[in-house]
Symmetry: D2
Subunit: 478 residues, 4 copies
């Protein structure tokens, strides 16, 4: 029923453009099918396995991802659900509903950070919005990244006013916004969007210093998708994963969209805008989901690399074994960091926040490992990836020869092609490269993640060592 | 007329499969159009600029790439023509006719390496084949890479006999071959194919130890193309380069193809097969063309990165400047190595062979630099590459907003999208990744290239230093 | 008293050579002073802080490092003691007594692996040896690495019989051994040495397939130290850490040393020799101590890098902040992996073994991070490390100028020199490079560590993903 | 006689401090012996091989390094002499007399850049100084690097006035300078010093904007050496190269040194100070010497690595062969870049300047390759470097065993120790790391070298490609 409800809501008209065509009914658009199926399965699991995917509060069952965790056991429960959900798409769908659900739970618990303004009690808005979303099991996506029109200039000074979303007028009922966000992932098939800025605004950016929610179907919201990365005319033998899980990234335009005060969380307030992601601890909970999801992805790539080595006759080469060991050992480090994030979690306002130090540590290192995994798969497949025929060649008169010519003692010709195509999808195809770019940038510029890690890191233990060695020196002088 | 001749020859029926369909007329196949246009331009230049693209011998003009150079000036002339030809496709077409032309000139000059056999004078065959090809201005492609069915086992012991091309019978007229080669690039639109093995065969591989020529149109030759990497339904704004220069890599099957002795150069001879590429100095001359072509490619990527930095507001960041300087300095190193290859060229049998040490040095380092260039373009474009609408969105009702929203003071919206799409094609799209894989592997496994460089390198100067430092030590003992 | 006992035992005559001189009394040798002080402090802490450094068994207190842990709490207790001990030398002493203590506990618990032979019950020997060592609080070092005389040939086939330690004769009382081990770290100041091989022996190596214990003072045991890396004539301002913690690596020669059967654990048994390190789980417990100790070292380097950035005016550069963040984030990953090693520990024969997958994961990655840390410190200090005067220059007539000329607003001239000298010791001096080489190789060749990680890694989760994606494909065909 | 003259001049008293002691006679200081011998050999070669090391002008013979080259042949002659001189010290002495000689030739030829001031004709000073130095065969060192007291603040605003050398007063006879320079390499054994700034001063730095010459023996010049990196008490078996070629880096203090106008080239002129190195083309000619010298160094390391592989039984491992091939191929790239620097040299004011683009390209890449070479040597030697006894151990009673125990079939025990010690000196010892730091920074911060390369690089060819691809797109629209 949850699943059916979602599919029903998907029918609501919205302005979605793919390949420059307005899609009247996103629910039937082939490019979205794989993602829609995964979201539908998300809801189905919520109903079929409540013990794993729900918690109870005041007599009602909610999705576990909306839980505001207070204990390590609850964090661990959330982690397990994140993993099970990520496994559905092998981690390729970055923005399944649990992602923003975990953010909403943090935002509501720490809603005091948002305070109140002339027209609205933002804190109370946040709590109500959270309650509504988990009650109605809405799929909330989000738009956070401002189009990088000129990366050398602050938002407020850019000539081009579509460099973000700004309020152009307001009255007692609400505000009207205009502008754009980019890489609004999965937005076309979401119910609602949470729109905000990552920290970094400065004085002068007030017009853009907003946070609010808006239904995808709202008047004036326009979603212009990038070129899809799935491949029409090819089946899952040809493109085993890129034809399944391309989560559309949309460029979202607000053409004078009216937002009632009840859905506004930050209004023209640079400091609050900068607090929105960090001080509410959304970053911690989003990050927790993110690294668990990343683990699923890295597991798939490691499995593919091992399968390639085994099936292509490469398993006995020491340098190949080292590369595979680099991959398996990286998996362990991800697992360790997840554990540390939970072990070092801190309770604040009755919310147990996974350690941001552990999360950002993996956020900085993971893209490099993922990049290596992609390169290793490329080097194991090498030219063979580029020598795979079309699936139809197995059925036309080339079939008998190809079935003979492309097999080896470990694997049939079709399975070998499937494996090499999977390797290509993950490492050579636009789909795989988009996944790599996503891992690298989805939580912000890695250079700044590292800089922030350094600046926030508790340095007591480090300075203790410095003090000790200075003391030994000074003692030696006496 | 040369151009028209080529286009006319293209009409000859051949067995070419794309997307599992037999292409009756390759000359009209959209996936090949960009490559065909470039080859046609190759012939046109030969006629329109003979001073640059031809040389005279015995009163007849031939394409400069077929010249067997004897002087540094001739090597330099060849280099300039390679560059001009590569510039036509920005280095993206790796197998333009000059590639094998340079090989044929070396093979003919050093044909004594091939000797004679029971049925044929292979040496004389090589000279005649060269003469015919340059006389008739044929486009000769080549098939050298054996399908890597099981990389842990030698050819002769593999169960699957399609792991290479072998002679299954022979008589006084010729031999009959069966088997396969992979990554036969541009083969569908070539006239002839030169089929041989890279060095590395060992005793027991005799059946596969062949080298011969065969017309693309010969009976029993079948070319099964990998999935094309161009994008139907998108124009050059959407895919500025991947829709132009996808040089098809074909999987080539020989179904009992008869080869007359006149076209055979190596017959069941492991040692000769191993000599074919190296001892004839094909490797030197192919390598010379290859690094010159690579330079064109690297220049395009460097230009794109600089343009990105300039237009996206990144030019003032020191770390971006360092990355761009890494790219421009790599270009210089390529240029230096080309110069060295010519300066250190050695005359042998009246043929001036570019230095293999310089060529293989760049062959080892260039793929790493190219990889870095691709990564730098990815990091400069980052998410913005994934926020580009379809070209049609500029013409539908989204047009006016997008033209406003996606421009900045340095660049119009459409030009910005063109630039980002070009960045994507080169760094994220399957086309760009295939180009990267091509650079890494087209001349063999880089690990083995390095191992060979070490083993062949003249070490006199190095050991002189060792001797000197030992001498100083021994002198100190007295 | 434990400390005094140790210092007293140190007086026992042993054959130790430094700089080709026989050291009659190691306890007064300046090169050993820093290490001796740390070991003495190790014993002192055992007495002064029993709650932290001891456990009780059958009414007696033993050093916590000798505990055979059965619970996670016990593992955590051991970890805390490892860290406190490592902090004494900032992790620079790799072979403090807790290292082999942890091994002995594993060896005794899993002594069944060793079995019995014709002359002795090796299993019972192991238990008794463990009991004696913990009872008497002996400092047991170890010799495991065979001199790499010819790395291309197996031990048993090498012409040079000093490529390891072999039994040359035996009788009913014991065996006589001859040969050599290398990098026997801290051996000159130890009480006992545990001699064994890392896994990797093969058939034909029987003579060398031994494991036994021997007192450092035994007749025929000779320790020839490498050139010390401390600096005579310089004080702790000049060499803040290299003059403190150079843990001598000795080349150990056995000139026909008699080993009674009671001290033998493996006798001419290739399989048992290979089991000694792994199947007894010594590797797990040694590895646990090793990564905890490594953390202390990495913390010092990170602290030094941060101090350099702060004091040299580099703190505001984004690229410097990224480098510091790379370091702090690496620390987190080490902490996560330690946690994982304990969390995933498995109980076997009543011994809780830290997860080898987590340990070897960090063992593979840590040397790369440590290398980066060293490089970052080099790049932050750059030329300034090479512009530091002798400490005496602050006291001669250069003093007044230098005190003025070398300070800045953040730091006095002497403190700046101390900091730069500390940076040099850790990143440029022979001491620092030896520490780096130690991290890279002390647990074996990193290439083989990775290969082993891959081969032992539980791959169920990885293959589950592969099965799922194959299933989706096959379902799609229906 | 030139040699004797130099050794005689060395006797002149100067203020040189080593290990805080004033050295009364530098000519007998053991730490300088290796460098002095090399400089003496420099002069000896000038006399013994005039055809190689001198040129004639107006009937007089000068050292070839002082030649202002006008032709490629002259550049090539200079290059050959640089190499022969560098070979004397295996490239380890970075600042032999030819280094500044090549600079003086450029400075004199382009002296118009310096212009004239109120008190002096700087241009004419430059010419006269050059003439005097080449006439008298003086060894001119230089001090260019300002102590990096606070790297975040410009010179003129630093509180600490020893952050450079500034003029504190002047009159009609000359100026008086006070301050410091760091890393004044080989200064203690030079005759003269050329003092200037690298480009980068800005308005407000006028006091420091100077260039001048000063005798090492001038009153008020004080040279405080860093701790020597040679090893007293060890011979050339123990330290084969670090005990030979430690070129002292001095911290140079000017305590109110008077400089007559005749020796001043820039006076309180920021623009001229910034032009001094670049616009006179000193950078080009210094750079030319520098990369040729670097080649000698890289050749030694490559030779050592090959010898290690051959003698330690590693030569048959493919991964080792790859590492050695990486080294030999890097040598080729250096050779190519040197050739390109000469081929692309441009004639300006009758001086043929090697291409700065080629030089800076190698300047950016070479330190990375050199770093790799050091790492490869470390990994080939691994623990064995740390298991080498003192040379005296071969002579005491350990001798017989060691001679047996440390040899293998390819190499004697002593030669093996020599080789491993050489490996350590180059890769682990302070000497080797200082050499690495020198390569990385001696021509400036590599990040800025790259940034400068990008900004100065002729981009015409790159933009031509961009124009072409845009044109193709625009043509496609028609």
């Amino acid at each position: 029923m949850l699943k059916e409800d979602y599919l029903h809501r998907l029918k609501s008209p919205r302005q979605v453009y793919i390949d420059s065509k307005l899609i009247s009914d996103v629910s039937t658009e082939p490019s979205f099918q794989g993602a829609i199926d995964s979201i539908a399965e998300f809801y189905q699991l919520q109903e079929s396995q409540p013990e794993l995917f729900t918690y109870e509060e005041n007599g009602k069952n909610y999705h576990i991802s909306t839980l505001a965790p207070k204990t390590r056991e609850e964090l661990a429960r959330k982690r397990k659900s994140y993993k099970a959900i990520a496994d559905l798409s092998f981690g390729m769908l970055g923005r399944t509903p649990d992602f923003i659900n975990s953010a909403l739970a943090a935002m509501a618990t720490n809603s005091h950070v948002l305070g109140a303004g002339q027209y609205a009690d933002f804190s109370s808005n946040a709590v109500k919005y959270y309650d509504r979303c988990r009650n109605e099991n809405l799929f909330v996506g989000h738009g956070a990244i401002n189009p990088q029109i000129d990366r050398g200039i602050q938002l407020g000074l850019q000539e081009n006013k579509y460099c973000g979303v700004r309020s152009i007028s307001h009255d007692s009922k609400g505000m009207t916004v205009r502008g754009a966000k980019m890489i609004v992932t999965l937005a076309p098939i979401a119910d609602e969007l949470l729109v905000f800025n990552m920290p970094g605004l400065i004085s002068g950016d007030e017009d853009f210093a907003l946070a609010f929610a808006v239904p995808v179907t709202a008047s004036g919201v326009k979603l212009i998708c990038r070129k899809p990365l799935n491949h029409n005319g090819y089946n899952l033998l040809d493109h085993p994963i890129s034809n399944l899980f391309d989560e559309s990234d949309a460029y979202m335009v607000f053409e004078d969209v009216f937002i009632p005060w009840s859905d506004v969380f930050v209004f023209r307030d640079v400091e609050k805008s900068n607090s929105f992601y960090d001080k509410t601890r959304i970053r911690n909970h989003n990050g927790h989901q993110g690294i668990v999801r990343g683990l699923a992805k890295a597991e798939l790539l490691t499995g593919v690399a091992i399968e390639l080595a085994n099936k292509m006759g490469l398993g006995s080469f020491l340098n190949v074994q080292e590369q595979l060991g680099e991959m398996t050992s990286s998996l362990e480090l991800v697992r360790g960091a997840i554990l540390l994030a939970e072990e070092d979690a801190t309770l604040e306002n009755d919310l147990l926040n996974p350690s941001i130090h552990a999360i950002q540590a993996i956020r900085y290192h993971f893209p490099k490992w993922y990049h290596r995994m992609v390169n290793i798969i490329q080097s194991l497949s090498a030219g063979s990836m580029l020598a795979v025929p079309h699936h139809g060649d197995f059925e036309n008169k080339n079939g008998p020869i190809l079935k003979e010519a492309l097999r080896n003692k470990n694997i049939s010709a079709e399975d070998r092609c499937f494996l090499l195509n999977l390797a290509w999808d993950l490492s050579g195809d636009g789909f795989g490269q988009r996944q790599m770019v996503y891992e690298k940038y989805h939580a912000g510029d890695p250079i700044r993640i590292a800089a922030m890690h350094y600046s926030n890191y508790p340095k007591g233990e480090l300075f203790k060592h410095l003090d000790n060695i200075k003391r030994i020196y000074h003692d030696s002088l006496c």
